[in-house]
């Protein structure tokens, strides 16, 4: 199925979890936060959260930033 990850259409299977994606991207170390369809998913639920068609996943982290 196709889902949107950070705005980019991506193929996943019905066995893919948020944790799978975070591990693939080397982001599972706690330095990122995940939002599935605009709801924050706590890290403890990453391994049990699967996807459905057209889900929107946002993965965010802190960057250098003053303003704007």
């Amino acid at each position: 199925m196709q889902i949107l990850i950070n705005g980019k259409s991506t193929s996943v299977t019905d066995k893919t979890t948020i944790l799978t994606i975070m591990q693939e991207r080397k982001l599972s170390n706690g330095r990122a936060v995940v939002e599935l369809n605009e709801m924050i998913v706590d890290k403890t639920a990453w391994s049990t959260t699967f996807f459905k068609e057209n889900d929107t996943l946002e993965i965010v982290t802190f960057m250098g930033g003053g303003s704007k």
């Binding site: 080397k26 330095r31 924050i40 946002e58 802190f62 960057m63 250098g64 930033g65 003053g66 704007k68």
Partner: protein, 265 residues
């Protein structure tokens, strides 16, 4: 003087700040120099922004370069509405780095001037949720009053447009807010050089936030040190109370030298 400085604590939310300088981490060429710059500026608070995690650049994280003894303050940069700022605040809190948030709502791309009304809306909600909220505003007294009523921890009015290094363009409006609002006033944005930071502090500002002036200096570490000294100097001058300003005629500060000539004193 040392005693004067020791007794002069800035408290925001529930925290005592170790200095009156806040540093933004944008525009620096790489993160590795951040610890030395933050240290040179003796910064009490460091701001960061929340962005999409890029697949290809996860080898380093800004958090690895922020010393443990500074307060981390995420901002809501990128938000154009109160709702977007609130969403960013929630995500930032979920990062697990505390509950401070600098509200920044900007829908104007030419001057990057903040939307005070949306900023107030976001502040009202986030304070109720328990955040320590520091709103960034165009210097408007009534907005500042409403923000104080809403429970903002400090107010951050701008000196000039973000990143402009144009200095204290809003001086008189800032002074009104400093005089009228019983909260720490942190002058943010536009301060281009240490002398302007000192001037803000002489006016009675509680602290200064700088980013571009340091990040775009030839030697950012030295510039951070210069800002630190300027903020301290300005603060001591404020506490000391300024000497009077006379009319253009001079006023001798030494005793009259009557012995040089046969004049009556």
């Amino acid at each position: 003087m040392i005693q004067m400085m020791n007794d002069d604590k800035l408290i925001i939310g529930k925290k005592i700040l170790k200095s009156r300088l806040l540093i933004g981490t944008g525009k620096f060429p790489n993160n590795k120099k951040m610890p030395a710059i933050i240290h040179a500026g003796d910064a009490a608070v460091v701001t960061v922004a929340l962005r999409r995690a890029n697949e290809h650049s996860q080898s380093e994280n800004i958090l690895d370069y922020i010393p443990d003894d500074v307060i981390l303050m995420p901002n809501t940069s990128g938000a154009r509405t109160a709702d977007e700022a609130i969403r960013i605040a929630h995500l930032s809190k979920a990062m697990g780095c505390g509950d401070w948030i600098k509200i920044e709502v900007i829908a104007d791309n030419r001057y990057l001037l903040p939307d005070n009304q949306e900023t107030l809306k976001a502040t009202q909600l986030l304070v109720k949720e328990g955040f320590t909220v520091l709103p960034y505003i165009s210097p408007d007294l009534m907005t500042a009053k409403h923000l104080a009523d809403a429970g903002a921890a400090a107010i951050m009015p701008l000196a000039a447009p973000i990143g402009s290094n144009r200095g204290l363009r809003t001086k008189e409006l800032l002074k009104i807010i400093i005089d009228e609002i019983d909260l720490p006033i942190i002058v943010d944005a536009g301060i281009g050089k240490p002398s302007e930071a000192a001037e803000c502090m002489e006016l009675g500002a509680a602290a200064i936030l700088t980013n571009t002036a340091v990040a775009t200096a030839n030697a950012p570490q030295q510039m951070a040190a210069a800002f630190s000294l300027a903020v301290k100097a300005g603060r001591i001058a404020f506490l000391a109370g300024m000497g009077r300003t006379s009319s253009i005629r001079a006023s001798a500060s030494s005793p009259l030298t009557g012995f040089l000539r046969k004049e009556a004193n």
